[in-house]
């Protein structure tokens, strides 16, 4: 793959990659940007080489996840995912998002924050990034069976938390 092609792919997947980096960094936008930048450095420098064994997206998400894990180990910090609607950059979107939707997104963010990491990752990859469970398993470097278990448990837990919130 030529450098131009590589850059074209990165650009095409940029928003999704940021969303994934955000999920890997527990919603910390600054860290997500750093992680994305480091991942891009690895890709364009050739330190991470696409072997065409999976789709480019699956491979790139794997690189982003690895970088985020390394970053997290370095920082040793636990943070919760937040939905930032007060950010001025989100104003244009906030205008398109109804109060109900906003509330629902906040509830989802809070529910995801309560999940174990693997469950949160698989739900994000399947529902947010539209990957199949086997693709998610490839990104997470786990077996498909294990990914399926995390997926089912995560989904049940999110529904339970959202159900509790609705009852309140």
């Amino acid at each position: 793959m030529s450098p131009e092609e590589l850059e074209g792919w990165l650009e095409q997947l940029h928003t999704e990659s940021f969303g994934w980096a955000l999920s890997c960094c527990a919603g910390d936008a600054t860290r997500a940007e750093d992680v994305l930048q480091t991942a891009y450095v690895r890709v364009i420098s050739g330190r991470a080489v696409y072997g065409e064994r999976s789709s480019f997206r699956t491979w790139l998400f794997g690189v982003i996840r690895l970088v985020a894990l390394e970053e997290r180990r370095r920082i040793h910090r636990e943070e919760k995912r937040a939905v930032w609607l007060d950010d001025p950059r989100a104003e244009s979107v906030a205008a398109e998002v109804s109060p109900d939707e906003r509330e629902s997104a906040e509830a989802l963010g809070a529910a995801l924050a309560q999940l174990p990491e693997r469950q949160r990752e698989v739900l994000h990859l399947v529902f947010y990034e539209d990957l199949s469970i086997s693709e998610a398993a490839a990104v997470m470097k786990i077996s498909v069976g294990s990914a399926r278990t995390h997926y089912a448990r995560g989904k049940a837990r999110v529904r339970a938390v959202l159900g509790e919130r609705n009852c309140e």
């Binding site: 940021f18 955000l22 994305l36 050739g46 950059r89 979107v93 398109e96 939707e101 997104a105």
Partner: protein, 128 residues
């Protein structure tokens, strides 16, 4: 409520989250420019190809050093440990009969006047 309906509800919530997150995404060009400048600032780490070239160019030095080490290990006499030397000396002493008859030249000095008297226990019948 069936699973598909509940899945689509969950998906709808994720879609909203995705739209919100997308609004926060930094511009691709901006991130890429930072990545490029980071790459330019960093000391370039050797790539696999470069490592291979280095190995091909200087590999013979490593090979030569390894061969020299092996030759040295085989050719140089091994240094005997002190314990092994002592054990060997004891073994040779026991196996050599001539050594068993050997007496120290200073043994005679232990033969003091009256020492024979001290060494024997007198019996009552001999005391008068």
């Amino acid at each position: 409520m069936n699973d598909d309906v509940r899945d689509s509800e969950l998906r709808a919530r994720f879609d909203v989250l995705k739209r919100i997150d997308a609004a926060h995404a930094p511009a691709f060009a901006e991130v890429m420019a930072r990545a490029r400048s980071e790459l330019a600032d960093a000391t370039p780490a050797p790539t696999r190809r470069e490592w291979r070239l280095v190995a091909r160019r200087y590999g013979w030095i490593g090979g030569l050093a390894a061969a020299a080490t092996i030759v040295a290990l085989i050719a140089l006499p091994r240094r005997e440990s002190q314990e092994a030397a002592f054990e060997r000396a004891v073994r040779s002493f026991h196996s050599d009969a001539a050594l068993g008859a050997w007496r120290s030249p200073t043994d005679g000095l232990l033969d003091l006047p009256g020492s024979r008297l001290i060494a024997t226990t007198p019996s009552i019948s001999t005391i008068r």
